[in-house]
């Protein structure tokens, strides 16, 4: 159990360093082209090989961490922010508000994730910003439902009743007990969500609706590499592997936090 968290933490630490100070891990310019060194397979010189313009894929993957993580974080932030508002309205508000919000969420659920994102993109056009917002919006209902049920669960928790008996007012209970406890599961939710958001955003990029080359963003790299998949697998494999790795690491970390708070 602990090993899981350590491995996940190590991966995320690496990705975080790559995102904040890519120059430390990969000092060269991710956009510098060397046309005559294109399509080199992985070797000591280029651990992940080179792409169609002779750019070092390892360098690009590292420099892409920032953009990819930013997309994942922004999308999750958008999704969770909307969800927090909806979830708290439903969970704390009067009954009719809960009823209304719940129905609203039910309607949103009828648009499965990617479809919602596509609907958004068809309205506002493709691109990195719209695809990020689209992913955020598409994930919001799921978060909102979890937050609502967490709020309701915490609201009914015996310790809130105990606080009532101790004479704590409603505002005190919400601020000092309910919100901090909801925030705990929110943190887990965000951790689990970032990985999924990156996967979703990269899917949109892959479909040509998200980030675009030559930006060293993982989704865009995949999109650029997909035509060469049969000949030069490393162009797709490594950016894809980092997406998978990030998603797995955030999931594992989220799970460990979840398990810790649960037990």
């Amino acid at each position: 159990m602990k090993i899981r968290a350590i491995v996940a933490g190590a991966i995320l630490l690496f990705i975080a360093v790559a995102a904040l100070a890519p120059g430390v891990l990969a000092p060269t310019d991710p956009l510098a082209i060397h046309p005559l060194e294109s399509f080199r397979p992985p070797s000591f010189e280029h651990l992940f090989g080179t792409d169609e313009s002779g750019r070092d894929i390892l360098t690009r993957v590292i420099h892409g961490a920032g953009a990819s993580l930013l997309i994942g974080l922004s999308a999750t932030a958008i999704g969770v922010s909307i969800a927090v508002v909806l979830g708290l309205l439903a969970g704390l508000g009067p009954r009719w508000l809960d009823f209304g919000t719940t129905r609203f969420l039910e309607v949103l659920f009828a648009f499965p994730g990617l479809l919602f994102a596509l609907l958004f993109i068809v309205i506002y056009g493709p691109g990195i910003v719209t695809s990020t917002i689209a992913v955020g919006l598409a994930t919001a209902p799921g978060y909102a439902r979890i937050i609502r049920s967490t709020v309701l669960q915490v609201r009914r928790a015996p310790y809130l009743e105990a606080a009532t008996v101790l004479g704590r007012g409603r505002a005190y209970r919400i601020v000092h007990h309910l919100l901090p406890n909801v925030a705990g599961s929110l943190f887990v939710l965000v951790t689990l969500g970032i990985g999924q958001s990156i996967v979703w955003a990269s899917s949109l990029s892959y479909l040509g609706l998200g980030a675009v080359p030559p930006a060293p963003e993982w989704g865009a790299m995949l999109s650029a590499g997909r035509t060469y998949i049969t000949s030069f697998w490393w162009m797709t494999f490594f950016p894809g592997a980092f997406i998978v790795l990030t998603a797995v690491a955030t999931t594992l970390l989220g799970r460990s936090i979840q398990d810790r708070t649960r037990s």
Partner: protein, 568 residues
């Protein structure tokens, strides 16, 4: 004849959970193993069925069959056929997704070649033989459509489907209402009388004494004492046995300690309340002064009750000046309380008075409405009719700080905010929510906990320690009334004894009034000055405890008393 000798069970490389025990059970005999949770008694029971999941050594023989070295095939022909098993947890031992008929019929399906029709007929006759009315309907229902008693009967039916010669009953009556439990014990007794050998596993000496002829007391994986029930109960030789016996509240007079006087300062937090390990000083300590408790608002100190045997000095606190002798000593009065849930009357015209410094016990079985009464009194719920008055004033939940009414609950752990440490919880209570960093060591010492426990989170504490923290939190704002809703129902008998002693001590020191709710007649009788017997939301009878139980007026009260296990 089941004979066990030198049975040892261990899991992985840890110390053995069952450590070299020996006993035997003859047909038509009930042999009991008594011990607290973690003593190894359930593992012993399972290892007789080859289901312990650990490494088993020593020898277990069913007549001449070597069970320790039995093959999987042999086991399958023994389980259910030769040895029946009535498992722990009546409410969870039936698969909620399968019908009762299927669960009961499993043994028939596995071990006989009966046709479906024959099986179904046999299932119904089995169900009626264990006292389940309307067996054909019940067979088609699932576990959650049955009451706890019916479920336990169904489990017994499934265990005896093939008339095994031996029955292993692991806590067969735990979590059942006492009248229901009595019925189950009667059923087991009739099986024993018809020649079935029974190995009874229980934490409750009183239950054991009703059914078993011989008993073994287990502690830490070993049998520390064994013999006939009479010998062990009358002349316990081992200190642990004595402690167990002493801890039984039934029959112990009010205010008499249940746990031996504990020694000071060794309550290792986190330790799973080892039974022999007493809590820190309670009675030996002088009453603490309460820095956060303004003396002027202190409740009247309990001196009305039959507190003559009070060994502790009265705390050095003044009486509140205002109330004179003509001032009513009634701190809490409920009149004509009614609470409906849909068509059901959960509470139906309940009224009572709680006097200052005294304990009013409410006893009843599940569904009697006693917890709803507690919630109404705490103003966590509004009555559909009737009133609650605190100190002569109507009370509906406003101005809780003035109300001076606190509560402790059955599940102490879930009443704590999971993010907070013990210190934060108590500091919050002590400072009226203003600080989570105040010094709580006095409060902890008052409930017999080591101050170092403040830095820990409640979930790593033992059940008894958790309940003590809960008590500390409840008394921090110096309440006049404490509502205790099943405060010891989740605790081992020794932890229960310690918590009851603590509550008793605090009542005398701080003069609190208790509304004490329990399903356990023995606990109620030990703790209460006055008592209310409830059933189906109604008060059947009430009055001073010994009057009610000494001369019960109502049939149900009599049935309760009869069903309540005692050591006699």
């Amino acid at each position: 004849m089941i004979s066990v000798s030198d049975l040892t069970v261990r899991f992985a490389r840890a110390a053995p959970v069952v450590d070299g025990i020996s006993f035997d059970v003859a047909p038509g005999e009930c042999f009991a193993i008594v011990g607290q949770s973690g003593s190894g008694k359930s593992v012993t029971a399972r290892s007789l069925l080859g289901l312990s999941g650990g490494t088993v050594s020593g020898s277990v023989f069913l007549d001449s069959v070597d069970l320790v070295n039995a093959s999987a095939r042999q086991w399958r022909s023994i389980r259910g056929k030769e040895i029946g098993f009535v498992s722990q947890g009546a409410l969870v031992a039936l698969d909620p997704l399968r019908t009762v008929g299927r669960e009961v019929g499993d043994a028939l399906r596995l071990h006989t070649s009966l046709s479906a029709v024959e099986q179904s007929a046999r299932i119904q006759s089995l169900l009626s033989s264990v006292g389940i009315p309307d067996p054909s309907l019940r067979a088609s229902q699932r576990a959650d459509e049955l009451s706890g008693g019916l479920r336990q009967r169904a489990i017994i039916a499934s265990a005896i489907a093939l008339q095994p010669r031996f029955l292993i009953a692991d806590e067969p009556t735990t979590a059942l209402d006492s009248t229901v439990a009595a019925g189950i014990l009667d059923l087991l007794e009739s099986l024993r009388a018809s020649g079935t050998g029974i190995l009874l596993i229980s934490h409750d000496l009183a239950t054991v004494s009703r059914l078993a002829s011989r008993v073994a007391v287990m502690q830490g994986g070993r049998i520390v004492e064994s013999g006939t029930v009479d010998d062990v109960l009358r002349m316990p030789r081992h200190p642990y046995t004595r402690q167990l016996i002493a801890a039984v509240p039934a029959g112990t007079p009010r205010h008499a300690p249940l746990a031996p006087p504990p020694r000071v300062g060794n309550s290792g937090p986190g330790a799973a309340a080892p039974p022999a390990q007493p809590s820190p000083a309670v009675s030996a300590r002088p009453g603490p002064s309460f820095p956060t408790m303004p003396p002027a608002t202190r409740p009247g100190v309990g001196n009305e009750g039959p507190g003559a045997a009070n060994p502790v000095a009265e705390p050095a606190v003044e009486h509140p000046g205002a109330p004179g002798p003509e001032f009513s000593t009634t701190v809490l009065a409920a009149t004509g309380l009614v609470r409906r849930f849909g068509p059901r009357l959960a509470v139906d015209d309940v009224g009572f008075q709680l006097e200052r410094g005294r304990t009013l016990g409410i006893v009843g079985e599940s569904g009697s409405g006693k917890t709803t009464v507690a919630r109404l009194v705490l103003a966590l719920d509004k009555p559909d009719a009737g009133t609650v008055e605190l100190f002569g004033r109507p009370w509906a939940g406003r101005d809780r700080r003035e109300a001076r009414i606190g509560a402790i609950y059955q599940d102490a752990l879930s009443s704590f905010d999971p993010r907070l440490t013990v210190g934060q919880i108590l500091s919050d209570a002590q400072t009226d929510g203003r600080s989570r960093r105040a010094d709580v060591s006095e409060l902890l010492e008052l409930v017999g906990l080591d101050p170092s426990i403040a830095a820990r989170r409640p979930r790593i504490l033992s059940g008894g320690q958790q309940q003590r923290v809960s008590i500390a939190r409840a008394i921090a704002p110096s309440p006049a009334i404490l509502v205790c809703d099943e405060p010891v129902s989740s605790l081992d008998v020794i932890a229960q004894a310690q918590v009851l002693d603590l509550l008793d001590k605090l009542q005398r020191e701080l003069g609190m009034s208790y509304l004490f709710i329990s399903h356990d007649l023995g606990v109620i009788r030990h703790m209460s000055d006055d008592v209310l017997v409830m059933r189906d939301g109604r008060v059947l009878e009430s009055g001073p405890t010994e009057d009610v139980f000494g001369a019960p007026q109502h049939d149900y009260t009599r049935a309760l008393i009869a069903a309540a296990p005692t050591l006699d």
